[in-house]
């Protein structure tokens, strides 16, 4: 069982990812935006972070940068559904450059979610 922090501003997607992970017996904390995610992260450092990239407030890319700065070798999965100004491929490439270990383009299946977690865990 791992402690997983899920950060996404989309309430349904956040809920569905949480349910999938809980069904797999993980302990899940969920944050509705980047600021809340960072607060939770600082309070109780998780084993894995799964974060959206485009969010209101502190964006996913900034969160990844900050978390990697705070904790070395942190398994981070970056999710993205694309953006208005750049493709999700670009967003995910940037996320990887900043330290995310696995990329998860939205929409994804449960199998793809767990594959990404496995990649992030190394």
């Amino acid at each position: 069982m791992a402690h997983i922090l899920v950060i996404d501003d989309d309430v349904l997607l956040r809920d569905v990812v949480t349910q999938m992970l809980e069904k797999d017996n993980h302990y899940v904390e969920a944050a509705c935006d980047g600021d809340e995610g960072l607060r939770m992260f600082r309070k109780n450092t998780p084993d894995i972070v799964i974060t959206d990239i485009i969010m209101p407030g502190t964006e996913g890319l900034e969160i990844i940068k900050e978390m990697v700065r705070l904790v070395d070798d942190l398994p981070i999965v970056a999710m993205s559904g694309g953006g208005r100004h750049s493709s999700y491929t670009n967003n995910l490439k940037i996320a990887k450059a900043l330290g995310a270990r696995a990329m998860l383009p939205k929409p994804f299946t449960r199998t793809e979610l767990f594959e990404a977690i496995t990649v992030a865990m190394g």
Binding site: L12, L13, D15, V16, G81, G82, G83, K106, P107, T109
Partner: protein, 370 residues
Amino acid sequence: MDALKETTEKEYCKILQQVVFADDPDNREIHLADAFELGRNSVSQLMMPPDELVSIHHAAVLRLSEEHPELTLGEVAGLLTLPLIEISMSYGMSFREQVEQRYQDIVDRRLQQANKLEAVGTLAAGISHDFNNILGSIIGYAELIDDELPEGSSGKKNIKHLLTASMRARDLVARMLAFARQGENCGMVVVDAVSEIREALDLVNVTEKEFTISLQTGIAPASVMAKPGQVQQIVMNLCINAVDAMAQSGEIRVYVERATASQCGYDGAASGLCVMVSDRGHGMTPEMQERIFDPFFTTKEPGKGTGLGLSIVHSLVAELGGELTVESRTSGDNCGSDFRFILPLVSDEQQGTGCRRSCSRLAAAQCMGR
């Protein structure tokens, strides 16, 4: 008149063939423009009445469908609701005005098409984030419900259908995004512009023996990002334009050098390639220079040009992130035109894959300037 009619019919049939078998819509429109021009010449210059053109059109369609039994008569004619018929049968405007109107319609259609493509791209990029989130929830919840349902139940079967439909929607969004991005640097590689320019000049030398073409280059190789053949096509079209601007003979000078800092308008880019094609032809007035890159604008005699050569050059240079300018003089010893384009040079560090030479003589076949 019979001989004229026969010649026109043959020529028209040839153009029809090019229209029908054009490999892409752009080429079809170019050949269609040739058909218009032929019609315009025939009516306005050769005094051929419009109904003669209608019969030529019918005869050409018949001949073409006989030569190509795989196509029905309806398919051939259907591909070409050619203005010649419509024009001669409608009322209100003069024949010539209507032909001009059809030219404009082609330009408008192209613009509309470009706008449509841009709109699809904007829409796809705009909705993809939200749409992918929505689809993510649908797929995720469907999978969670699927876990709860007993094997073989109708509910389980229905959830499978829901998931299949969701995956189709996912593919559709991916395809729309791919479509929206298809023009972005697609197929661009590092090419040596100097090699492509040399090949273009070799080809022009072969076809235009009365003209002397000189090349002065202060840089070689010159690596730019382009699709193979694009630089060659730019230079060929400029040279053909130069040949047409001069009477029977003359010299075309092509200069290739590193652009000065002030010529490079790119953000922070330190280096650019400057290519100038210079002729000593009749030159262009400022009014002509204003319109010289407009599609279908031509100063050539009817039948000599489609008016697309320089607009193609303009759009190609723009596609490569460059700039095209012209300076022209209609009198004095220095009479003639200088077309200058600047392309961003690729630095050594940017060249991951090394230089690739331009592709053969393909651009010659694609050269659509005349």
